[in-house]
């Protein structure tokens, strides 16, 4: 059932992405892409090939949904989806990360052993029961997503200042039914606390049978409301679909039976339960080992931000400002940040300095994301150096004057405008050119 829902939602996502023209806008038109550190070698293909990738992705999502050539479909989907995500971090979204992980986990489990085309092709495959871990691992992954999203909200900005919701909710006063309440600060506090409590606890209520039905209603309510408010695409549907995993075996069986009766004779009858076997695999120890490593990493990665000396948990302003260790940690809609980044490229031989028009190289999404994320600013600076060096500018020096605003505070310099970014390295080290949030240098350095 989880497999069917996931496959369907992914199929819809791929088709939606295609129809909105985003393949063209995001992966074919831009002349520059922001790469993940360590994955600089991932390059986009040409237009036809990119469309082919999405076609393959759609077909494999269909394969997952139908349980057809399942192992192949799940592996192909995982690879295609992850490849596309690795192309450009300007489009990073936590739910794409979640999809990649889920797709990876799906490659490990026998989700095609019941109610699938594969079983129809080869009834031998059919199993009535699977080991507990093959289901529990998805529950654990979802628990990680929700609980870390909840933990991330336990900070002074979110709980004491109701930021960024105080800004975001205000803009939602045109919503039907609840719009009128949005400009009130109290509403923002209510939503902030409710959101934190929801994320921290929902998984437990879903696991406990007596509260499960109500909790699932809360899941629907929560994701429908956030889906109406924020441009978060398919995320609400992904989560509403994914959390069905918490329902009992009985529920899933009944739903499948309903599907069978709804679509009549398309689906062959399952064998009598008594003749069905328990799924076993001799790779079980290896699989469990892989999963152990995966989940240990999942538990550690969100905490890596604390390795940077200036980052604190309760007061997150420095951390949200420098964003070192921010991604891949289920920090969902956590901070309102925006910036204006102006790049200066200097010919070190002639001394002549020019101002870059970012839109010459970046699409609006890329420019917007880059303008407040230090690692992307650095990457763009390196690109500018290469680009203008090739155009005949001698040993280009690249400086950036970036003013960013965070959670409604007035803009401040994000990075040191006197530093030649062309000479700075990427990596996990603490970057000295990112200015601290609490103190500001005199403005005298900024351009004559």
């Amino acid at each position: 059932m989880f497999r069917v829902v996931f496959g369907l939602v992914m199929l819809v996502s791929v088709v939606r992405f295609w129809l909105l023209g985003w393949i063209e806008d995001q992966y074919i038109s831009p002349v520059f892409h922001f790469k993940y550190y360590g994955f600089e070698w991932v390059e986009p293909l040409n237009a036809v090939e990119m469309y082919l990738i999405f076609l393959v992705m759609g077909i494999s999502a269909l394969g997952i949904m139908l349980g057809a050539f399942y192992r192949l479909s799940s592996i192909v989907f995982f690879l295609a989806f992850t490849y596309v995500e690795l192309l450009d971090k300007a489009y990073y979204l936590n739910h794409y990360y979640f999809v990649s992980i889920t797709a990876f986990l799906l490659t490990l489990v026998p989700a095609h052993r019941y109610f699938s085309v594969d079983v129809w092709r080869n009834p031998e495959l059919e199993c009535a029961e699977v080991p507990r871990w093959t289901i529990d691992l998805f529950k654990l992954q979802l628990a990680i997503v929700y609980i870390f999203a909840g933990i991330a909200k336990i900070n002074s900005e979110w709980l004491l200042n109701a930021m960024p919701l105080r800004l975001w909710l205000r803009a939602q006063d045109a919503l039907p039914l609840i719009g009128w309440a949005m400009p009130y600060d109290l509403t923002a506090y209510l939503f902030s606390w409710a959101g934190m409590l929801y994320d921290c606890t929902i998984v437990f209520f879903l696991m406990w049978k007596p509260t499960r039905a109500l909790a699932y209603l809360a899941v629907i309510g929560f994701h429908v409301i956030t889906g109406m408010m924020f441009p978060i695409g398919v995320f609400p549907i992904v989560m509403i679909g994914a959390t069905t995993i918490f329902f009992s075996e009985n529920f899933h069986k009944k739903t499948i039976d309903l599907l069978r009766s709804a679509f009549g004779k398309i689906f062959p009858k399952p064998l009598a339960t008594s003749t069905l076997k328990l799924y076993t695999t001799r790779f079980q120890p290896i699989l469990l080992g892989v999963l152990l490593i995966h989940f240990v990493l999942q538990l550690l990665i969100p905490f890596r931000f604390l390795l940077y000396p200036q980052n604190e948990w309760w007061n997150p302003t420095e951390f949200f400002w420098n964003e070192q260790g921010y991604r891949f940690s289920w920090r969902v809609m956590l901070v309102e940040k925006a910036g204006t980044a102006i790049f200066y490229v200097k010919d070190t031989q002639t001394g002549r300095e020019g101002v870059v028009d970012n839109r010459e190289f970046l699409n609006p999404t890329q420019e917007k994301q880059m303008s407040f994320q230090p690692d992307m600013i650095l990457e763009f600076a390196h690109f500018l150096k290469r680009h203008y060096a090739a155009k005949g500018v001698h040993n280009p020096e690249v400086r950036a004057e970036v003013y960013a605003t965070m959670n409604g505070r007035l803009g401040k310099l994000l990075i040191d405008p006197s530093v030649n970014l062309a000479n700075e390295r990427e990596g996990f080290h603490d970057k000295s050119w990112i200015l601290p949030f609490h103190e500001q240098p005199a403005l005298s350095k900024v351009k004559e």
Binding site: A181, V355, G411
Partner: protein, 367 residues
């Protein structure tokens, strides 16, 4: 499954209702720090800024079209000067209309700006079109619009030289064609707004595609076009430019760039404050900012920087040609560019962030 879906839908609705009543109870005693009526802002902007600006543009372009017709009928110094004056009037009013490239101003063959406001023009292309009587090449945006008309009316040093060139029938016909085309384009936009107005003022959300979001993005883009194209390029401020390129200023041939730029910045400022074309200060972005946390502080900073920008702009002598000033007093012009650069963040990222608007430029206009 159907029953399940129904059940879930009903439950979700109940939950939403419960949520509302819950909120209801709590907020009765609370008052929002400020509420803002976006519809009032959109109505003010539509009725007192956009529609009157387009109407004025239409009047001035009609006058330009008549003047050009009279000039082509009888080319002499009087009719030429009348055409020039009409062009200047029309192009001044264009400065108030150039930033509204949405709705009826966005068509399948390009935005209003792309069809009317492109500079610098491609003089040699225009000459070759004149020579070959090519009047309808839709792809060459730099051979039409205000700046192409300007080129034809002002391209030579003396009036008699211009008149001499206009003894050529092709040249007269080319001028007539592009002026009529400009008129037709503007007419379409003005007519389109009659029905688009209702759509514009009723789309009161803040999401991508809402009127507020579109208006805001156009506002920022219009502001940035002053900095990037009216100043940055002629100053040689793009990386890779090895020297200033003064011939790439707006209105290079007539030398009216500075006056035009002043009007343009005034238009940007009036939209920010919500000041109508009749001079009445209505609801604008400023009032919107006042209603959000920290909005007043941002307004203060914005106004301080705007004052610096205006001081720099006023420091440019009104009667000077911008293209000559860039050569004779580079620092003076460059200082204005620097201050506009500094101003960008106030309009672009900080305003967008406080108002929760998304920066989405639909196309790379200009150039």
């Amino acid at each position: 499954m159907k029953r399940l879906t129904l059940k879930l839908t009903v439950s979700a609705a109940c939950l939403a209702l419960a949520f509302v009543s819950f909120n209801c109870k709590d907020t009765l005693t609370d008052t929002p720090s400020d509420t803002f009526n976006r519809k009032a802002m959109l109505e003010n902007v539509a009725d007192n800024i956009i529609i009157p600006s387009f109407a004025e543009l239409q009047t001035k372009v009609n006058a330009l079209n008549s003047a050009v017709n009279a000039f082509v009928q009888t080319p002499n110094e009087t009719t030429l000067q009348a055409s020039r004056a009409a062009w200047e009037e029309a192009y001044l009013s264009w400065q108030y209309a150039s930033g509204f490239n949405f709705g009826p101003a966005q068509t399948s063959i390009g935005t209003l700006f792309q069809r009317a406001g492109i500079f610098p023009v491609n003089a040699s292309q225009i000459e070759s079109f004149v020579a070959s009587r090519t009047f309808n090449n839709d792809l060459s945006r730099d051979t039409r619009g205000f700046n192409a008309i300007e080129y034809l009316l002002y391209d030579a040093v003396s009036v008699s030289e211009v008149l001499g060139k206009f003894s050529n029938q092709n040249r007269r016909d080319y001028l007539l064609t592009i002026t009529a085309e400009l008129k037709a384009t503007v007419d379409t936009v003005v007519n389109g707004w009659q029905s688009y107005r209702a759509e514009f003022v009723s789309n009161v959300g803040t999401d991508i595609g809402s009127s507020t979001s579109i208006l805001f993005n156009e506002f920022v883009m219009d502001f940035e076009s002053i900095k990037n194209f009216k100043l940055g390029v002629p100053l040689g401020r793009r990386p890779g430019q090895t020297q200033p390129e003064p011939a790439r200023v707006e209105a290079f041939y007539s030398g009216k760039s500075i006056r035009l730029m002043r009007e343009h910045l005034k238009a940007v400022e009036e939209l920010y404050y919500g000041i109508g074309r009749n001079g009445v200060d209505g609801v604008g972005f400023v009032e919107y900012l006042q209603s959000v946390p920290n909005g007043r502080a941002l307004i203060e900073q914005t106004e301080a920087q705007l004052a610096v920008v205006k001081t720099r702009l006023n420091a440019l002598p009104s009667d000077a040609r911008l293209s000559e000033l860039i050569v004779s007093n580079f620092a003076l012009v460059d200082a204005l560019h620097t201050e506009l650069q500094r101003h960008t963040r106030f309009f672009k990222s900080e305003m967008a962030s406080l108002l929760s608007l998304t920066i989405t430029f639909s196309s790379g206009d200009g150039d």
